[in-house]
């Protein structure tokens, strides 16, 4: 893409993290409106799903103060997607990991994918939406260039473990302990686990890609065999001792 083509960028602090929007299409009024709407929806998702807010629907639902029927449609959507992720991962993805209702493991990816979709529907077909380190890509950054996504090395901050390259829609999700410590719970034991320094999964759409990254992380040793069986998903894992493994098809995305 010639440097003269102006895209649109936006950075939004929301949901306890930062969302970065990188839109490479010429910004039409429709695209600008969609970006504003996407940002509004992120704040709404925070208000509805935050487990840090006592007044969120999720918190009130967990305490039994409201019933599922009292919740807005997106709660039903997220719970249904969570059930799918849980089923597809043999229970390794869970929204009650520590006995309390906590769909955080899916909400951020879902919200990022939804933002990407809103932009797409408004005519922005070449976009990168990064929700705190988990990314939904569409199209390509320039007619002749692929997207290039750096995967942070969890043990050597500021170095990249790999660069994922794609010239079509792709989601990239990384679970790890580098930023928030051991926060992933083994839903079968209720204990926090850290079998990986980081685990990156690539797949078509971020909601499931992100949920699968969380599930595979919790799964530990058997994660690779499980990921190899998942059609359309590939992964790169870095172990706490610095060793790494990649699924067979991961090389397709690495230059």
């Amino acid at each position: 893409m010639p440097e003269t083509v102006a895209g649109l960028r936006h950075v939004e602090h929301v949901m306890g993290t930062v969302f970065s929007f990188d839109i490479r299409d010429r910004p039409t009024p429709a695209i600008r409106r969609a970006l504003a709407e996407a940002v509004r929806q992120l704040h709404r998702a925070d208000a509805v799903f935050s487990t840090y807010r006592a007044d969120s629907h999720i918190s009130r639902l967990d305490r039994g103060h409201i019933r599922l029927e009292d919740c807005p449609p997106e709660v039903h959507e997220v719970l249904s997607l969570s059930a799918q992720a849980s089923y597809a991962s043999d229970g390794w993805f869970s929204i009650v990991p520590a006995g309390r209702l906590d769909p955080s493991g899916l909400v951020k990816g879902w919200a990022t994918e939804a933002a990407s979709r809103l932009l797409h529907e408004a005519g922005a077909h070449h976009t990168c939406v990064n929700g705190g380190g988990d990314i939904q890509l569409r199209g390509r950054p320039a007619p002749t260039n692929p997207w290039r996504i750096g995967i942070t090395h969890p043990l050597r901050p500021q170095e990249l473990a790999a660069v994922v390259t794609t010239d079509h829609d792709l989601a990239v999700a990384t679970s790890g302990t580098a930023e928030r410590g051991a926060h992933i719970i083994n839903p079968h034991t209720g204990a926090p686990v850290a079998p990986f320094a980081s685990l990156t999964v690539v797949g078509p759409r971020l909601t499931m890609t992100d949920a699968y990254a969380t599930a595979a992380f919790a799964r530990g040793k058997s994660a690779k065999a499980w990921l190899e069986r998942l059609d359309g998903y590939e992964a790169l894992a870095i172990l706490p001792d610095g060793q790494e493994w990649r699924t067979e098809g991961f090389s397709r995305y690495v230059t």
Partner: protein, 141 residues
């Protein structure tokens, strides 16, 4: 327009430089809070579009000011120089001798990787400030 882009590239480099002052990496500098540098990186030599040396404003840390300059050649970072860094005692100097060259190298590495975005363990709003994604956002803002 072009000028503005170059200036922000300077700032992003400054951000990358400050990344290495992360508390867990450099214990003696723990507690350094990178501020958003004020934006007056000024080219003091310029020999054409996207080429020149740009000096960032000094950024105050609790251990003293840090200041860097970058050299651009046709829009790409070709050199990063540390003009000022805390060196009050032997420990400072020891850290600087290790961390600063590595930082410069990393700033160059990230640039040459030509990446569009960064995926990693979910960062907090605070963690974002020190992230490579933040540097990329600023570089293209």
């Amino acid at each position: 327009m072009r000028r503005a882009v170059l200036a922000t590239t300077g700032i992003s480099t400054l951000t990358i430089m400050l990344l290495a002052l992360k508390p867990h990496q450099v214990p003696a500098l723990a507690g350094v809070t990178p501020r958003t540098p004020t934006t007056s990186a000024t080219p003091h030599t310029s020999t054409g579009a996207g080429t020149g040396t740009f000096t960032g404003d000094p950024v105050d840390t609790q251990y003293g000011p840090v200041q860097v300059s970058i050299t651009l050649t046709k829009g790409k970072i070709t050199a990063v120089k540390v003009l000022q860094a805390p060196d009050q005692n032997g420990r400072d100097q020891e850290i600087n001798s290790f961390a600063l060259p590595r930082l410069a190298e990393e700033a160059l590495g990230a640039q040459s990787a030509q990446i569009d975005a960064v995926s990693g363990a979910s960062y907090t709003s605070q963690g974002y400030i020190q992230s490579l994604q933040s540097a990329l956002d600023q570089a293209h803002a």
